[in-house]
């Protein structure tokens, strides 16, 4: 247990001076352009003030000038590691607003793409986390596997990162003829790689020393702050929107929801947050396997509306993005452009709880904690 009592350092008779350390916006492990103002006493963190907004690209203002289908490429650019899921959420919100029934094949393909995207996103999270802790090799192992998924996306829609694939009411393309075969091959090759990652990093003694009992997020704090996704599950709440607020075809598949158990330290520490993601990749593989075995035939573009003009009204729809609850709040005034699109970004909410996690730990732990909550600045700043 290495959390220092901040009060102790303040009360100590030895006169010490606090220092302000500016971490970022250009720093190797702030995962983008985040600026953290660390107040430190020696190496112990007294307080952290995050400053965001360096990547603000006016998504919400742009949306008000766009027609509804034109917004989809913009959603890609928010959480650029999980673009597929951003489109998924937006399309779902629009379909609910316009009451469109989408064909079953579309639902299945969306689920497959969404879960592949979840694995790809988690691989980046796990790999960069290893790099943050100082192990560089797992980072490249993860990127090697992610490359296969990006290839699958590329043959499907021609893009590797920003897809514009999931449209309102359908998809831009049907699956590539090789897709099913390549996905099966990927799943077969990927399972041993997860085992390898576990041996190399997850159960590495130094890694456990660095992450267990560090940055503990108690469950009450997590709910009060609105933290969602793997970070919430690592704190021990079995809460997954795929199960608790079902959407698309997720109710048809059989999968577990991994939660943090405090196996190496306290529940909700960095190691738990890391390991929940490892376990989730396996569950995503299960969903993909079931989905590609039972995928129905059909036309993927039959339900795409010619003109997207939703009725006047408002809707809040949320999906389980790899980082947590991704919500779209859309107000329509009955015209071709939305009156308001607000995105509830999971990382934005997670970032708020970050100062709470850091207090009393050391500068090196800030990096470990920041990596474990897995933020994407593109989504925080939008």
């Amino acid at each position: 247990m290495t959390q220092y009592s901040i009060q102790n350092t303040k009360d100590s008779k030895l006169k010490t001076e606090e220092m302000v350390l500016n971490m970022g916006p250009q720093h190797p492990s702030t995962h983008g352009v985040l600026r953290l103002e660390l107040q430190i006493d020696g190496e112990i963190i007294i307080d952290v003030v995050p400053h965001i907004g360096y990547l603000h690209r006016c998504f919400e203002k742009h949306c008000e000038a766009m027609t509804y289908p034109q917004i989809i490429p913009y959603t890609d650019r928010m959480d650029y590691l999980a673009s597929m899921y951003n489109e998924f959420g937006y399309a779902l919100a629009m379909e609910r607003l316009m009451k469109i029934e989408v064909p079953e094949r579309v639902e299945y393909i969306r689920v497959i793409m969404g879960e592949l995207q979840r694995i790809a996103s988690h691989l980046v999270a796990l790999g960069t986390y290893g790099a943050d802790i100082g192990a560089f090799t797992p980072f490249l192992f993860c990127f090697r596997d992610r490359e296969r998924i990006l290839h699958l996306f590329e043959i499907t829609c021609g893009a590797r990162l920003l897809y514009n694939y999931i449209w309102i009411g359908g998809l831009s393309h049907d699956l590539h003829p090789d897709f099913i075969r390549l996905t099966k091959e990927f799943i077969k090759d990927f399972r041993p790689n997860v085992k390898e990652l576990n041996e190399l990093l997850s159960y590495n003694r130094i890694f456990i020393e660095r992450t267990a009992n560090v940055g503990i997020l108690p469950i009450e704090t997590a709910i009060n702050y609105g933290v969602t996704g793997p970070n919430l599950r690592a704190s021990g709440l079995k809460w997954d929107l795929r199960r608790d607020d079902p959407y698309s075809a997720y109710h048809k598949f059989d999968y577990e929801i991994p939660v943090g158990s405090g196996e190496k330290g306290k529940t909700g520490d960095c190691w738990d947050r890391y390991y929940v993601r490892v376990l989730e990749m396996e569950e995503s593989l299960k969903i993909i396997e079931q989905a590609i075995d039972t995928i129905p035939d059909g036309d993927v573009s039959s339900a795409i509306p010619k003109r997207v003009k939703p009725p006047e009204g408002q809707i809040y729809t949320r999906v389980e993005n790899p980082r947590g609850e991704l919500g779209y709040f859309i107000i329509s005034d009955g015209s071709l452009n939305p009156a308001r699109v607000k995105v509830r970004a999971p990382s934005f909410v997670t970032m708020q709880v970050f100062p709470e996690l850091c207090k009393g730990f050391m500068v090196a732990d800030v990096v470990a904690i920041l990596g474990s909550v897995d933020i994407v600045l593109g989504e925080i700043d939008r």
Binding site: S29, T137, M362
Partner: protein, 357 residues
């Protein structure tokens, strides 16, 4: 000996000394640094399922040469708010510290830069200069990251010198010499005379010594790893936390000097481990030169064995770097003070008892 030979050849003491002292730099350290950087890149690449540099020359062997040219051409940036004198002097000091250590390293029985009797103490002492250089660099940079890195480095290097010295002391106690040449000569003939296998002792004493020697070897290897700031002990330049620690503000050739010093240091500590426990320049199976009667071959063979042993330990350092995550600063200190130092004291005591037998 090289010096005597050159003295006879030129008839000039100063010239002979000059050549002898420059030889390791030009014949060994610079080419070694070039090779080691490439080796690091290739080793890491193949450990990570990729190829590494491939374009410059056959399989990228000219990559580091190209890098050197790039570094030479770079503008020598000195930030305004630095302490100029210290800032410029720090990389030199670091480099001098690690370069001077090579003076006492026995590359072969024929060539030792300086055959001083206090070789071991000299190396440990002169590498201590590196700490001063690092602290200077961190302070003079006027950058908080550099300062944090330098403070960490100072604390780390000084702490880890204690177990290193304890193990050196153990060897000195056992062998009764501080000269690296005598140490190597002591472990002559076959590999069972190496100190890791109890040295030239015989009978029960040898068998009793073996476990302690292996432990001692592990301790000294770990602590020298920490002294040269390699993963898992690379917290002074922890890339993901402190950008790159004490040399954040350096660029161009000054950065290259830190870099060169790091690689030179890697070999220096590997050489110490090789000399202390693995017979120094001695061949494990006797010499081909002696068998064939070609005595001129022996020094070359010795040089080969010495560099191979050194390179092997450098390789292990790289292997560890690309496998292990990094410790946190307090864990690192705890590891030294709570485990390495007590263990090294116990080993020192027990080996002393065995040596008395």
């Amino acid at each position: 000996m090289m010096y005597d030979w050159l003295y006879n050849l030129t008839g000039n003491e100063i010239l002979a000394m000059f050549i002898v002292s420059l030889l390791p730099l030009f014949v060994f350290i610079l080419p070694f640094a070039l090779f080691a950087v490439l080796m690091e890149r290739k080793v890491s690449a193949h450990m990570q399922d990729r190829l590494g540099p491939m374009r410059t020359g056959y399989h990228g062997i000219l990559q580091t040469v190209a890098d050197i040219f790039k570094l030479l051409q770079k503008e020598d940036l000195v930030p305004t708010a630095t302490d100029k004198t210290l800032f410029n002097f720090a990389p030199l000091l670091v480099f001098i510290g690690s370069y001077a250590a090579f003076a006492a390293i026995p590359f072969s029985g024929f060539f030792i830069g300086s055959k001083i009797d206090l070789g071991l103490i000299f190396i440990v002492g002169v590498t201590g200069l590196v700490v001063a250089g690092i602290l200077m660099a961190g302070w003079a940079s006027n950058n908080k990251y550099s300062l944090l890195g330098a403070m960490r480095a100072a604390a780390q290097i000084i702490s880890y010198e204690i177990p290193t010295l304890m193990i050196i002391l153990m060897i000195v106690m056992l062998t009764g010499t501080l000269s690296l040449y005598d140490l190597s000569e002591l472990q002559t003939a076959y590999f069972w005379n190496w100190l890791i296998l109890g040295g030239p002792a015989v009978g029960l004493q040898k068998i009793l010594l073996i476990p302690f020697m292996i432990m001692g070897c592990l301790i000294i290897y770990t602590s020298t790893l920490a002294e040269v700031n390699r993963t898992p002990f690379d917290i002074p330049e922890a890339e993901s936390e402190l950008v790159s620690g004490y040399h954040t503000e350096y660029s161009g050739m000054k950065f290259a000097m830190f870099f060169l010093a790091e690689y030179a240091n890697m070999f220096a500590v590997s050489a110490i481990v090789a000399v202390l426990f693995f017979g120094g320049y001695q061949s494990p199976f006797g010499y081909l030169g002696n068998t064939l009667g070609w005595t001129w071959l022996v020094p070359i063979e010795q040089f080969f064995w010495f560099t191979s042993k050194g390179l092997f330990f450098v390789f292990v350092q790289m292997w560890l770097r690309w496998t292990l995550p990094r410790f946190r600063v307090d864990q690192l200190m705890a590891f030294c003070w709570k485990y390495l130092i007590p263990f090294s004291f116990v080993i020192l005591l027990l080996v002393g008892l065995i040596a008395l037998m």
